[in-house]
């Protein structure tokens, strides 16, 4: 038991390698937890967001005290959990008289708190309260569409920050190939005022239109809520610069089998698989087709002609 964790099994080794920093990152995981006091509304919000993000989220069921994300010392528990669960996004819910139905959405960089947005939940409608055709229900893990409405998302820094955080939270994995049959839900966020955002989750109904592009229809499936921005802490400038650094496109794949010769130019080897000539069936084994017999017949045929002529001459 040293200061380093190493794995004894191959599977354990793979698990550790998943958590190592990579050049191109895969999806972020979310940690959903709550503080000492929560309300029923907040509990519902947390569980429903967890269900929306089932595969890529971890939910803690016990209450956690001593978490104050906006205070200097109150982030240590969050950072420890982030390290333990390898989650870079967290959703912390708490309820107090001063801040009712409070939800703190935060991101971490290198398991240190990167930025925070504190939001109050109002007018929450759970998924169960929506009535819709069950066939439209979106499948778990499908990539959602994101729609943001309102100029406030550009002009007001609080809303701009919230837009970025919501995008990070709900966008899912960044994929190269998308199956068009699998697009079935969308998140719609509207800026109602400089502090309020209306957030809802809708299923998509694709209708046949004349062209390749189907006609889209949104059907609310929930949950829907109003988010009121209370506080937000933007990231530290130097940390932000470091976090926004991205690798230059894709790492250059080494071109295999190509050699550049100064005399011959670009050369490569052509590898042919074993043709197994000995085991191949000959195309036609019939007697009449064999070359020798054919040739013999030809010669014999010419002799016959000669003999026939001779016979004619004779007769």
């Amino acid at each position: 038991m040293s200061e380093f964790r190493t794995a004894t099994t191959r599977r354990g080794k793979k698990e550790l390698q998943k958590r190592a920093p990579k050049l191109i990152e895969s999806g972020k995981k979310t940690l959903v937890l709550h503080g000492t006091k929560t309300s029923s509304v907040l509990n519902a919000v947390l569980t429903q967001i967890y269900h929306l993000k089932k595969e890529s989220a971890v939910k803690y069921s016990r209450k956690n005290d001593k978490i104050n994300p906006f205070e200097a010392g109150g982030e240590t528990s969050l950072e420890f959990f982030s390290q333990k669960t390898d989650c870079s996004l967290f959703l912390y819910g708490s309820h107090s008289k001063k801040r009712p139905n409070n939800l703190v959405i935060g991101r971490t960089y290198d398991h240190h708190v990167y930025d925070l947005v504190e939001v109050g939940i109002e007018n929450f409608r759970p998924m169960e309260s929506f009535v819709y055709d069950k066939k439209l229900a979106p499948k778990e893990g499908s990539k959602p569409f994101m729609a943001f409405i309102g100029e406030g998302f550009e002009s007001i820094i609080g809303l701009k920050h919230l837009k970025e955080v919501l995008l990070d939270l709900f966008r899912g994995e960044v994929v190269e190939n998308l199956n068009l049959a699998g697009v079935d839900h969308a998140y719609v966020c509207t800026a109602l005022s400089s502090t309020k955002v209306f957030f809802t989750h809708c299923a998509l109904r694709l209708k046949k239109s004349g062209t390749v592009v189907p006609k889209m229809e949104l059907v609310e499936v929930g949950p829907s809520m109003d988010m009121v921005i209370r506080r937000h802490r933007p990231p530290n400038e130097s940390v932000r610069k470091e976090a926004m650094r991205s690798s230059k496109d894709k790492p250059k794949k080494k071109e295999k089998n190509v050699k550049k010769d100064p005399l011959q130019g670009k050369i490569g080897n052509v590898y042919i698989p074993d043709q197994k000539i000995g085991e191949m069936a000959l195309p036609n084994k019939s007697k009449g087709v064999k070359r020798e017999r054919r040739e013999a017949r030809q010669n014999h045929g010419s002799d016959e002609h000669a003999s026939k002529k001779k016979k004619e001459e004779d007769s």
Binding site: E25, Y109, H112, A147, F148, D168, L178, N179, G182, M216
Partner: protein, 331 residues
């Protein structure tokens, strides 16, 4: 779909995101109307994304048409740092220096003792030190010494040394670069300090000094207390005053502020505090005049027609402000 008027959305196809910066939804209407309006606007945005999405070149797959999405345009922060290169281990450095090349070894080696081919590592391995049943005694050997035990001890020593080196290499890697991907820091050595950076580790000397200083914080000045192990006595016992050198050092290097400079500094501070002259009027006037001349000259060269009044006002009191500092509320 027709784009009416100036309705252009910012579409980020890699993220399947669309942003409408022109519409506003009024919050004064009833809840149902508000929701309906939001859904309508949302439908427009989603339609815009779908337009560009379904027109991408698609390949047929078993489940449905596959499209290749472009990379997302909105940049989001990473969750972990970029992988840093691992510093070379002590062996790697040595090998590089000596030019030692790592050659692949055979799995089966010829065992001299049994004169058969055995595996290199594992059960019943070739050239195993511990498998030798008889060790011939040399005349120089000590009769009480157990050579088998000695061999085992040596091996244990070698294994421990290797383990120590391995841990040292990992510590080095963690400090100056990244750990190898299959190794992680254990929970006890995690640098969790909230938003602060990793705290500097206090050295043994520093601790000793601090312990010495703290030990004097008793009624009797720490004279009659038992000294703790590692506690260092105070460097300067009793009253301590540091005097700067009167003359500059013999080697001509900078020795810090001289006594004269120190006294001057204090004097200036006191005098400026009680100085009622807010402004060195002469100096301020010349400074502003020079600035005006400069601006006039640059304006003439640029031949700009804008009135200087329309230009952003530069703070004219900047120079005077530093002198003003010496006089906090004049009352």
């Amino acid at each position: 779909m027709e784009i009416e008027g100036e309705k252009m959305f910012e579409v980020d196809l890699g993220n399947l995101m669309a942003y409408d910066s022109h519409s506003t939804v009024s919050s004064q209407q009833s809840r149902e109307k508000l929701v309906k309006e939001c859904l309508e606007k949302g439908t427009e945005l989603v339609q815009a994304i779908a337009d560009s999405l379904f027109t991408l070149p698609s390949t047929e797959d078993i489940d449905g048409p596959l499209v290749k999405l472009p990379p997302p345009t909105t940049k989001l922060p990473r969750e972990k740092h970029m992988p840093r290169p691992r510093p070379p281990t002590k062996w790697e450095e040595f090998a590089k220096k000596k030019g030692i090349i790592n050659r692949k070894k055979d799995k089966i080696v010829f065992d001299e003792q049994s004169e058969t081919w055995k595996r290199r590592h594992g059960y019943d391995r070739a050239n195993d030190e511990e498998a030798i049943p008889i060790i011939e005694a040399k005349p120089t050997d000590d009769p009480d010494e157990d050579p088998f035990a000695k061999r085992r001890e040596n091996k244990k020593g070698r294994v421990d040394k290797q383990e120590k080196n391995r841990v040292q290499n990992l510590r080095n890697a963690a400090k100056f670069g990244d750990l190898p991907s299959h190794v992680q820091l254990a929970a006890t050595s995690l640098p969790i300090t909230g938003t602060q950076a990793v705290q500097k580790k206090v050295t043994k000397d520093e601790l000793g000094n601090v312990a010495g200083i703290a030990s004097t914080a008793t009624a009797s000045g720490g004279k009659f207390d038992k000294k703790l192990p590692g506690e260092k006595p105070l460097k300067h016992k009793g009253k301590f005053r540091k005097f700067p050198p009167v003359a500059p050092a013999a080697d001509g290097k900078a020795t810090g502020p001289t006594e004269r400079e120190q006294a001057e500094k204090i004097l200036n501070k006191i005098l400026s505090k009680n100085n009622h002259d807010i402004l060195n009027v002469k100096k301020a006037v010349t400074v502003t005049n020079v600035k005006k001349e400069k601006n006039r000259r640059s304006d003439k060269s640029k031949s700009s027609t804008t009135n200087s009044k329309l230009k952003p006002q530069k703070k004219p009191f900047k120079k005077g402000g530093s002198a003003k500092k010496g006089n906090p509320k004049t009352q």
